[in-house]
């Protein structure tokens, strides 16, 4: 198997009339005047989506994108231009546009390009090529059949298979030369169930940076169908959610979206340098004792993992909060330099046509010792929320929301009726202090997270053990 650099050399550089020598020259052209740092980001991506509806795969699409993004940084100023045509004249045009961010002339410092070594956390494969179309179609049809067979109340099924493949190469004035080949696969299922004049939806999904042989298994059909169908039929019986402040028990896994919103974004270096609630709080208590939160881009095969980030920095395991004390932020190169710290492997971008920013990878809370049953028993009146849609945060005020899609009422220490979806709202730092019990059952999500920031989407992972939060506002109607 070719090294990532050799792969990219063959697929992007050579067809664009480039080689490593030529690349060194172009990086040199970026380093003029007061430019502190500059990089060229080459990318080639492909994606294939197969969609099932009405029991048939009637819709399929293929997407290809190739391009190069050019960035010049001077102080905290960034000049940026990009081209979807990879050729020397277009790159020179983009460089000349990007360096306009500063007015000085004269040659700056350029390090010799040297290949970054990084571990291999996932295989450099293109899963699009792995199976024949007919196999993918038949798999989706068996997923459909299983969902319909699972419960007679299921009336509609939609399923999709998305297979992506991305090659990236970074060459920078600091000598960085790094490449990565990133597969990403995902299966999604949505069912509609109908009974007694009510209709409800349930959904599920899973995926990661691995091959189709790992994704397309009978066990995964069972898992997806079980989750989506039970969510839909449980919600058919749901009563109105309560309104007001209650103790809330959160399930393990995907409910970790709480951490992503309540603390994750506030610990990204750019927000932190400017406007985050967490600015200047390093070394202070920001969460209850026992709370340890980690962002880890090095987990094997996970959706949020990266061998190197989009600035060529190998990803790492970064402890953000340790036993309730704030100990670290997530950084890209620009914000790390401005804050006088090292980059942490969190510099990510949606594509060559977007500027990198500090972003999360896989963000999760480590296990405690409590069990979920004990948490439920300790609640007189409250809510157990086991599944969620998305969330959002205002990092300046600390306010965040996340929307429950499967939740239950807890009355006198017992789980009673399912309740309709409701938004939970809180103040991130206050909620982190209100965590009173931490489960032993830590789990990561199934590989479905997409994080949006400043208009850029990137795949992420979240996770947590079951948690009890003493007070959270529940946005029901009863």
């Amino acid at each position: 198997m070719l090294s990532p650099i050799a792969t990219l050399n063959a697929s992007i550089l050579t067809p664009g009339g480039l080689d490593l020598d030529r690349l060194q020259g172009l990086v040199g052209r970026l380093s003029i005047g007061s430019v502190d740092y500059g990089d060229l980001f080459f990318e080639r991506s492909e994606a294939e989506t197969w969609s099932l509806e009405d029991g048939e795969v009637k819709d399929a699409s293929f997407h290809q994108d190739t391009g190069v993004g050019v960035r010049a940084v001077a102080g905290d100023r960034q000049g940026f231009a990009y081209s979807s045509e990879v050729s020397v004249p277009r790159i020179i045009e983009a460089i000349d546009a990007a360096v306009r961010i500063q007015k000085d002339s004269g040659q700056g410092q350029v390090a010799a390009l040297q290949e970054t070594s990084a571990p291999r956390l996932y295989q450099p494969i293109n899963p699009i090529l792995e199976r024949a179309s007919q196999f993918k179609i038949e798999f989706l049809k068996s997923l459909d059949a299983a969902a319909r067979a699972a419960d007679p109340r299921v009336t509609e099924v939609q399923a999709s298979l998305t297979i992506s493949y991305r090659e990236i190469l970074v060459a920078a004035t600091d000598g960085t030369l790094a490449a990565d080949v990133r597969p990403l696969v995902r299966l999604s299922l949505t069912v509609l169930a109908e009974a007694k004049g009510r209709r409800e939806r349930g959904s599920s999904g899973l995926g990661g940076r691995y091959d189709l042989a790992t994704l397309l298994t009978p066990e995964h059909i069972e898992q997806l169908v079980g989750q989506a169908v039970s969510q839909a039929v449980i919600n058919l019986e749901a009563v109105d959610a309560p309104a007001g402040e209650f103790p809330v028990v959160l399930g393990s896994g995907w409910p970790g979206v709480l951490l992503h919103e309540a603390v994750g974004h506030g610990l990204e270096g750019d927000f932190n340098r400017k406007s985050s609630f967490y600015s200047g709080k390093l070394g202070t208590r920001v969460a209850a004792p026992g709370v340890t939160v980690v962002d880890d881009g090095t987990l094997v095969d996970r959706r949020g993992s990266l061998n190197v980030d989009d600035e060529g920095v190998p990803s790492q395991r970064n402890v953000l909060i340790e036993d309730g004390i704030l100990v670290g932020y997530m950084q890209d190169k620009l914000n790390a330099r401005l804050m006088g710290v090292a980059p942490t492997g969190n510099g990510r971008r949606e594509s060559y046509a977007h500027l990198p920013m500090p972003r999360m990878t896989n963000t999760f809370m480590e296990a405690g010792e409590a069990d979920r049953e004990a948490m439920i028993r300790s609640v007189k009146k409250g809510v157990l929320a086991v599944n969620f849609g998305g969330g959002q945060v205002d990092i300046t005020s600390g306010q965040f929301v996340f929307a429950a899609s499967e939740a239950y009422l807890i009355e006198d220490g017992q789980v009673t009726a399912p309740i309709k979806g409701a938004t939970l709202i809180g103040h991130g730092p206050k909620v982190m202090q209100a965590i009173s019990m931490i489960g032993a059952d830590v789990a990561l999500d199934t590989g479905i997270g997409v994080c949006g920031k400043n208009g850029q989407s990137v795949p992420v992972g979240v996770g947590q053990p079951s948690l009890k939060i003493d007070r959270l506002t529940v946005g029901g109607t009863a």
């Binding site: 961010i101 179609i137 309104a243 959002q392 005020s397 306010q399 009863a478």
Partner: protein, 449 residues
């Protein structure tokens, strides 16, 4: 730089690509084909704390192609418009069309349905703006805002953007049309601090015509006022109270109703308004229409995503749902006719006669919602529950800023039984635009009593 953009040249370049794809697809065995191509050139600058922070030149292009083999289809998109990449796209789409199941609803506009001549809707206006001028404008907006009050200690910056673009749409049935359009804008986000209270808010202006943008310093001052107003926000008490959505967020609320009468949700039965055509969905004093042909407006287009001519039409009349929002595809799925709405509604204006102060007085006591957070909208059931912030009102006057609460209800109930007034203050920056909306009762969750 963006002013150098030549829409006529660009339109002919894209048209030539579109025709090339149509003939290539046919030669390779496609029985029918549809191609959409677009390209944009833009400038995007950001300043923060008086200094340039970002200077970005954007140049995007993409082509999407759908091919048909019998009644089966496959599609492909690419940003690379070279013959190699386009050939590869056509081949990939064809390979998919040969294995997908037939879909009788996937049809192209016939020659008698498609638009013939495209009127000039005045959507493309150049802005002779250099990067330095754009930066100066951003800096002046931010400076005017920060100067309003010493509690404005920080900024997320002010941005100026200017984009011009062209889109071309062609089919094997003979459609070949194009439009050019521009969008220019300025926005400012400020941060205020006072004691332990930290708040952030924004203001923006955008228009197809740069001459119609709001003055930069006024945007800065508007952002300043909105940010200062939020300081020392707190929760209000949990309870059922009247709720007034400002025009900015009311548009979003109304868009949920329009999603629920959209063909894609309806044919999948994923809407709380399934089978409600002809029935009451809003109070009898409500009539809502779209006007896609307004000159220079944000949502204007002479044709829809299927190449059918757009038209003025009414969706809600005297509170009754008189028309769905349908494309050729969703109409076919529902056994109906297209409403020429592939891509959605354009320039919906829901407006009343009550001005803002009168709405606040009419509410008397309750919550004004200025901002919403999260995705707690279930279109299948109509259940609505979102994070909110705004102001508490007593005696018809604003008392204090509110945050960290939720507003919840059921969309069908809210629009049918609880909507009591709509403001005259329509936010025309949006394609789907509403005046402020007053509901007589929603559940607000905040502090427990």
């Amino acid at each position: 730089m963006v002013a150098e953009f030549n829409p006529e040249l660009e339109k002919s370049r894209l048209s030539e690509r579109v025709e090339w794809i149509l003939s290539t697809a046919k030669r390779q065995g496609a029985e029918a084909c549809e191609v959409a191509a677009s390209s944009q050139l833009g400038l995007d600058v950001q300043a923060r704390m008086g200094q340039v922070e970002k200077l970005e030149l954007t140049r995007d292009q993409s082509v999407s192609v759908t091919v048909f083999v019998g009644q089966a289809r496959g599609s492909a998109t690419t940003t690379d418009l070279s013959e190699d990449a386009l050939t590869r796209s056509v081949e990939a789409a064809l390979a998919m069309a040969r294995v997908t199941a037939p879909d009788p609803a996937a049809i192209l506009a016939s020659p008698d349905q498609m638009i013939r001549t495209v009127p000039d809707l005045a959507l493309d206006h150049p802005w002779a703006l250099t990067p330095d001028q754009a930066l100066a404008l951003a800096i002046s907006a931010e400076a005017a805002g920060l100067a309003v009050d010493a509690r404005l200690t920080n900024s997320e910056g002010a941005s100026v953007s200017s984009t011009r673009g062209v889109s071309v749409h062609g089919t094997s049935e003979g459609l070949l049309v194009g439009q050019s359009s521009s969008l220019h804008g300025l926005s400012c986000v400020l941060i205020a601090e006072d004691g332990d209270s930290r708040e952030r808010h924004y203001a923006y202006t955008h228009d197809r015509n740069p001459a119609l943008l709001v003055d930069a310093e006024e945007i800065g001052r508007d952002a300043a006022r909105k940010t200062l107003d939020r300081l020392h926000a707190r929760q209000c008490q949990t309870g059922e109270v009247p709720v007034l959505f400002t025009a900015d967020v009311a548009s979003g609320l109304l868009s949920h109703l329009f999603s629920a009468i959209g063909g894609n949700a309806l044919y999948r039965k994923a809407s709380y308004l399934v089978d409600r055509l002809g029935t009451q969905v809003m109070p009898s004093w409500v009539t809502i229409a779209e006007d896609p042909l307004l000159l220079g407006a944000i949502g204007s287009s002479a044709y829809d995503g299927d190449g059918l001519p757009t038209r003025q039409q009414t969706f809600i009349e005297d509170g009754r749902l008189v028309q769905y929002v349908l494309s050729l595809y969703s109409a076919h799925r529902l056994g109906m006719q297209s409403t020429h709405n592939a891509g959605g509604v354009r320039n919906v204006r829901f407006s009343g006669e009550t001005d803002w102060p009168a709405l606040v007085r009419q509410m008397e006591r309750g919550l004004i919602v200025t901002d919403l957070m999260g995705q707690g909208v279930n279109l299948v059931t109509g259940d609505y529950s979102r994070g909110a912030s705004g102001f508490w009102v007593e005696g018809g006057e604003i008392q204090y800023p509110v945050h960290e609460v939720t507003v919840a209800g059921h969309l069908d109930q809210l629009f049918q039984h609880h909507l009591v007034a709509v403001g005259s203050d329509v936010d025309t920056r949006k394609s789907l635009a509403s005046g402020s909306l007053l509901f007589d009762r929603m559940m607000v969750a905040g502090e427990s009593a």
